[in-house]
Symmetry: D2
Subunit: 165 residues, 4 copies
């Protein structure tokens, strides 16, 4: 996970380990791929999550459309983060099992907007639907994401900040 102790503090986890972090807190601790492609979380709860990504040339495939992998990545990030934020306080971790993305309409500029809605909360798997749209709110891609929820290994349970996705 990285340095860790510092993040726990900045995420306000010192005395409130049972609370979900906010979108703003998660954005501040964003790193790795989420920071690289430009994930911007707007709102998250354990049943709904909203985020967006600013379109730029680095996110496009050869003919100038947003690359399909960006939709899959965005859906994966938001549902993993929302699930992790909810289950880590309970001593569990969240790991992606499968990502099913359908591409409906290309996006070439503006933002890709994502709205994730939880479809199912099982004991060992959560299922989410993600609707992705353009600035005109036209539906452009949909993802069905299945996430495994498993007990956090003990070592992790002590050091883990809440952003594991």
């Amino acid at each position: 996970m990285g340095p860790g102790g510092h993040d726990e503090a900045s995420l306000g986890y010192r005395g409130a380990a049972m609370n979900m972090p906010t979108a703003e807190e998660l954005n501040r601790s964003r790193r790795g791929y989420d920071a690289f492609y430009g994930l911007e979380l707007l709102e998250l709860s354990e049943t709904e999550v909203r985020a967006r990504v600013l379109v730029r040339d680095e996110l496009k495939q050869p003919v100038g459309l947003v690359h399909g992998g960006i939709y899959a990545s965005l859906a994966e990030s938001v549902t993993s983060l929302a699930t992790a934020a909810a289950v880590i306080p309970e001593g569990n971790m969240a790991t992606g099992l499968s990502n099913v993305t359908n591409f409906l309409r290309p996006i070439t500029d503006g933002h890709v907007h994502a709205l994730g809605t939880r479809v199912h909360r099982g004991r060992t798997t959560w299922v989410w639907d993600v609707r992705m749209s353009d600035d005109a709110d036209r539906i452009c891609a949909v993802t069905r994401m299945t996430i495994a929820v498993r007990p956090l290994p003990d070592a992790y349970a002590q050091a883990q900040p809440p952003t594991a996705g």
Copy 2:
């Protein structure tokens, strides 16, 4: 993608419009998201394609594993490029319809290796299976990718380099 004249030349399209570009040619013309996340094509034909991505921190999710979106992106890129390389010379274009990725085992360093195998060549859709593995050749993710093949709009047909994915 841009108007292309320069690329067409460098891709050897001057007098050989019916040939598929090689992996090396496609790597040289790589740009946008494929360059951004580090796609390295190794070999491609219209039935098989091999590529890899070097793992680095920018491709990881919060707990230090390669982000699920990278597997989905890699599978999407290689199958789109291989399909496009085959169908553009025939006046068609290739567009991703759906990407189904299952995550089997995490990768934390080395390369993500991808082997794409065409499962079906239909008139309007191609279906590929992609196996992704780590440096020890353990299977880590699998993708089933469906790609629509449609007639290239006339305007495109004149300017289009062969890498549209």
Copy 3:
């Protein structure tokens, strides 16, 4: 759609092939597999479709739960029928491209209820989400169905009943 008699008249099936058939009309012409496993259509339009199947031993897997194939079949039938009913009058046919079904909770008796909602109407593909539930309205399975819409071959166009799915 309503109880039917009235609709049939207003849909003018006697001499007006341009209208969608009703659920009741489709149930009367039901045959083959749909009749075999017990599909009962309740309502359909080109954006929404409802149906149910009565659970019986012939639909169960070895430990007494409704077989996963029944959910997949039910989702496939309702979305194919609703799409076909809408596109056949326009001279097109509907063919399933892919069926992605997630199993969330078992059903052992009563009915399997299906509610299909159209997610996307493209020129060549329609995408539907189907929610399947038990008698207590608990969500038990979800399907994302992609259906190809293609021009009907001429021979078909003359002989075709409106239920092609």
Copy 4:
């Protein structure tokens, strides 16, 4: 499934609880939906399974093609049975998590042939690919099936015949 003692005997499980049942044994104990639609197992191991279904009118959709639900059902049955046959002797059960089926080419008569190959054996999920073909061995549908493997509840562990799918 029923009380089971009798089945265990007929399946030769009295003194050989660690062995997988054969395809022939599973065919003899076939019931419910598998018997209803006509599943015929030909061979199974924990990494590969072969089966077929005889095409008849009861398995067709309105225009006379094998219904998409039959491919999904067949793939689900063979992978669930093969997984269950392998894990039940170890005190686990197998439950379908998701079924992703792509339809490639229609079948109108003869048999639907299925070949399932295990892609991944995880601690809690198994993943299989199933290739379905017609009598001319043309590929007609493919399924990616994910199956959860969980500890068998105690009550089950005592009474359970090995065919739970």
